[in-house]
């Protein structure tokens, strides 16, 4: 009772990365709180999938296996969690900040009247004193997340309601197995006791996976390249950096005209205007037309072999040198300092 629960996403027998990352975080929180780590797996054809989950230090794995439960739809998954959580009374429930977790989490938190914090970047255990009420709360989950467009960092707590729920984005927590033969127990749920036919009102008619649309406007970090990047091949460095930082790749008009990047990525007066938290300009000289599309970025890093490039005058950081040397170092030191 009062354990930590992680909702695991599964598709075609593969448990998602973010779920395994959350199990790792859940394991360390459970050890700190001296409680057990439990996981919930809802899907179809789940025989053997426990082997992917138990090694992360899961003490109890609840499995709901039914052909109607995959692919994911909201109502049956919510119905299972609502009833299971009402029975098991977890103190903490975690899920991925994915389209599934962000669809399911609020539905469950509303049904259980428990607090949910979306997109946490850090989870810690700590106490809280409510001086007005004269109450001290021990061992609460601190749910830490950026808010207000990333301009503030808020620590959220749920003093009174359980479970304390949080979602976390993929890649935020690290993933670490405990032991391949960790002695966890599997409990198979009798699905018909948890869902009713009414829960299958929404039908999936068709689904297919495809590449994500480019969304530079909505990106909080933009890695952008200019003519100075030198070639389409060199642009791959920018994609590597963007992938690591969770950024989008943009380009100057000169780079687009030279064929280094697609037209959809063009930033500037005749392209897209962006105001990200961080704009990394690689090999961009910084003509007025380009600056019009990015000069309101909160912070600007300019990487350029020319120490006198005009863009340097509006940059917060100027790195003089070859991008082929600098970008791999940025990736290296980013990774070293985060995990």
């Amino acid at each position: 009772m009062n354990n930590i629960f992680v909702y695991c996403e599964v598709e075609e027998g593969i448990v998602s990365e973010v779920s395994l990352e959350l199990l790792t975080k859940g394991r360390s929180l459970a050890s700190q709180l001296a409680c057990q780590l439990e996981a919930v797996l809802i899907g179809s054809g789940l025989k053997g999938v426990e082997k992917q989950i138990l090694p992360f230090g899961v003490d109890v794995l609840h499995i709901a296996d039914d052909a109607r439960l995959e692919p994911y739809t909201t109502l049956p998954h919510a119905a299972i969690l609502n009833k299971l959580f009402a029975e098991e009374k977890p103190q903490i429930a975690l899920m991925g900040a994915t389209p599934i977790g962000r669809d399911l989490g609020p539905r469950v938190s509303s049904a259980l009247h428990s607090g949910l914090t979306a997109d946490c970047t850090s989870l810690e255990i700590g106490d809280h004193e409510d001086k007005k009420a004269g109450m001290v709360y021990k061992d609460l989950l601190y749910q830490i997340r950026p808010a207000f467009g990333g301009n503030i960092i808020a620590t959220i707590i749920n003093p009174d309601c359980r479970p304390q729920m949080a979602t976390v984005r993929e890649g935020v927590m690290k993933k670490e197995k405990i032991n391949d033969s960790y002695p966890g127990t599997v409990k198979n749920l009798e699905v018909s006791k948890y869902v009713s036919d009414l829960d299958f009102a929404v039908q999936i008619i068709e689904r297919h996976t495809e590449k994500k649309k480019i969304n530079i406007k909505g990106a909080s970090i933009v890695v952008s390249g200019g003519y100075g990047v030198g070639s389409k091949e060199n642009f791959k460095l920018l994609y590597d950096l963007a992938a690591v930082l969770g950024a989008e790749v943009g380009a100057s008009r000169a780079a687009v005209d030279a064929g280094y990047a697609e037209h959809d990525r063009q930033i500037g007066q005749t392209g897209i205007t962006v105001r990200p938290k961080l704009y990394i300009a690689c090999g961009i000289s910084g003509q007025v037309q380009h600056r019009a599309g990015m000069e309101e970025s909160a912070q600007i890093i300019s990487i350029n072999s020319d120490p006198e490039a005009p863009i340097n005058s509006i940059a917060d950081y100027v790195i003089t040198g070859d991008i082929a040397e600098i970008i791999p170092k940025m990736i290296k030191y980013y990774k070293l300092n985060t995990k």
Partner: protein
């Protein structure tokens, strides 16, 4: 087919995307005055989606529901200029400090008072909180099916709607019975602009509070044109349980706020040396700009 009754949930938000160098004060706090209040961007996508349903099913009626302070009536007018038919402003001091759950409860209670509806459309998330929670929570409170991350309505039938969802790695076509709630992504079409005729028709649309505070007297106008009333609802109108509202009704509490200092300084100059780049990445991670 009979026209649909559609409710669009919308929020007035500070424009956090417009965070320029003057948006943060020297002490690192947010300079709210430098951020204009706008129609939450994805709620505009939601409005456009509703307008397209109205285009396909003539006779449909769109009502914008927003919760906020008195000035949030601005976004209702904005919606009327773009093709919505009416608006409701849910406003009361008792709502102050609401988290997503208390907000959803108040909205759901208001919707129950608004009478029959077929479809509720909301933006996926608001840019001041980015939680994406209010849509699904309102659906749960009203015991409705929900479909999130919607990009396009493909088909409207009697008591059923088929939509396309845009997910991280692909698309999904789903069919749901109505009444239901859907939330709309920014990948959906942008909202049409103001219609000049509508602008003329609704430019004097006011809530009762705004009318009382107005310096000019348009009483004669309102007598002849009841559509100029923007309905105002307070706690008293929605039969709400006070325990579930505002700060008291919010399970989540803010324990602490740390400011991210985005102040521009004189440019720091670096070269290809490892140490400088290491320090830069460390600094950006510590100030939560990246990571």
């Amino acid at each position: 087919m009979k026209g649909l009754k559609i409710i669009v949930l919308a929020k007035q938000v500070p424009d956090t995307r417009n965070v320029g160098k003057d948006a943060m004060k020297a002490d690192g706090t947010v300079n709210r005055a430098a951020l204009p209040a706008i129609f939450n961007p994805e709620d505009l996508n939601a409005l456009e989606l509703a307008l397209r349903v109205k285009d396909t099913v003539p006779g449909s009626v769109i009502t914008i529901l927003t919760m906020g302070p008195g000035r949030a009536a601005e976004i209702i007018r904005e919606g009327l200029y773009r093709g919505a038919d009416s608006g409701v402003l849910l406003t009361d001091r008792a709502f102050a400090g609401s988290d997503t759950l208390a907000t959803s409860y108040a909205l759901a209670q208001a919707i129950k008072e608004m009478g029959h509806f077929d479809l509720i459309v909301a933006g996926r998330q608001a840019i001041d909180g980015d939680t994406a929670q209010v849509g699904p929570q309102v659906a749960e409170k009203l015991n409705l099916p929900q479909v999130t991350y919607v990009e396009e309505v493909l088909k409207v039938e009697k008591a059923a709607i088929t939509v396309r969802r845009r997910l991280d790695n692909g698309v999904e076509t789903v069919k749901s019975p109505m009444p239901m709630l859907l939330t709309v992504n920014s990948s959906a079409p942008d909202c049409r602009s103001r219609n000049v005729k509508m602008l003329m028709k609704y430019k004097h649309a006011r809530t009762i509070t705004e009318k009382q505070e107005a310096t000019e007297d348009y009483t004669h106008l309102y007598d002849n044109r009841p559509f100029l009333y923007i309905r105002e609802m307070t706690v008293a109108d929605i039969k709400a349980d006070a325990e579930q509202l505002g700060l008291t009704g919010s399970p989540t509490k803010v324990k602490k706020i740390d400011n991210v200092v985005l102040q521009a300084k004189d440019a720091k100059k670096l070269n290809t040396a490892d140490e400088g780049i290491n320090d830069l990445m460390k600094e950006l991670i510590e100030s939560h700009v990246i990571g």
